[in-house]
């Protein structure tokens, strides 16, 4: 039986919080910072760090706007991010198929 090593998972998406962010944003057009923070149950600082890492990789876009004179941060997934997330899912599927 030949031994095989599976392709590595995208390290940028792999941490749980970042994977959760990508999964959350993948099915929708965008979400506010507070919506994401509450959904992930993380602190503002923690979420900011993960968002910055994903933004630096070009996986997500961050837009700051004013709604009712209050600053609001909207986060949405980019095409590059969608492609990376789909690749991640394909790798996961391959892993589980070999179970």
């Amino acid at each position: 039986m030949p031994k095989i090593a599976l392709g590595p998972l995208d390290e940028l998406i792999h941490p749980q919080a970042r994977l959760a962010i990508m999964a959350y944003l993948n099915g929708i057009e965008g979400a506010s910072f507070t919506t994401l923070r509450d959904a992930l149950d993380v602190t503002d600082g923690n979420l900011s760090v993960h968002i910055r890492r994903l933004q630096d990789a070009g996986y997500i876009d961050v837009n700051k706007t004013f709604v009712d004179r209050k600053p609001k941060t909207f986060v949405c997934i980019t095409k590059k991010g969608q492609k990376a997330f789909i690749n991640y899912l394909v790798t996961l599927e391959k892993l589980l198929e070999r179970k």
């Binding site: 031994k3 090593a5 599976l6 099915g27 909207f74 070999r98």
Partner: protein, 206 residues
């Protein structure tokens, strides 16, 4: 397949199952959160309740029969409802939007347009349509709530649907149509604006 996983791959397999669970949970949460918008229900609950309450009070306590003034009140209320819906739909595009949110909006836009059409037919003098509308309206509202319960994954909305169907039965059993306006206004406030407030609060938390 004659393949054997390496030690590193076994670790990946365990991690893959955890990852998949996270992905499923977050995607479901995103879908539900994007669809949660109770503002349409609050708007239409109030818009449909107030004219009926006004007409009921006028006819019951002041002895004024439904007249052209009542029709004007209805058209003003519907105008507010339609303009408000357009503004809300615009605001909704600035938040989290997905196919669930669009289906939810489509159900209620379709419901409102059908109700407006039936109402126009009813006030244009067709009495048969008017009597049928009294039973069809709450039954249709129940159906809309039943569909909404499935889309935004809120089981308790099915009880609201049941409430509307019971309202339809109650109206059908009435001997006199005098109290229809009162029953409707109470139903629209408690079974439409009420759930709207509850959904809006859930949406703010999501």
């Amino acid at each position: 397949m004659n393949e054997e996983l390496t030690g590193q791959s076994v670790e990946q397999l365990s991690s893959a199952q955890q990852d998949l669970a996270i992905i499923k949970k977050m995607m479901l949460e995103a879908q539900n959160s994007a669809a949660l918008d109770g503002r349409f229900l609050i708007l239409w609950g109030v818009v449909l309740a107030l004219p009926q309450l006004y007409i009921f009070i006028r006819s019951s306590f002041l002895g004024v029969a439904a007249d052209a003034g009542s029709i004007v009140v209805w058209f003003v209320a519907l105008g507010i409802g339609i303009c408000g819906s357009i503004i809300l739909a615009y605001l909704q595009t600035r938040g989290a939007v997905n196919s669930g949110a669009r289906t939810y909006a489509s159900i209620w836009i379709g419901f409102c347009l059908t109700m407006c059409l039936l109402l126009i037919l009813a006030v244009s003098g067709n009495q048969e349509v008017l009597y049928s509308l009294a039973i069809v309206a709450p039954a249709m509202t129940g159906l809309a709530f039943f569909a909404t319960a499935a889309i935004i994954n809120l089981g308790w909305l099915r009880w609201i649907a049941l409430g509307w169907w019971l309202t339809a039965i109650l109206v059908a059993l009435l001997d006199s149509y005098i109290y229809v306006g009162l029953i409707y206004s109470l139903a629209y406030l408690s079974l439409m604006a009420g759930p709207g407030i509850a959904i809006a609060r859930l949406g703010n938390r999501a």
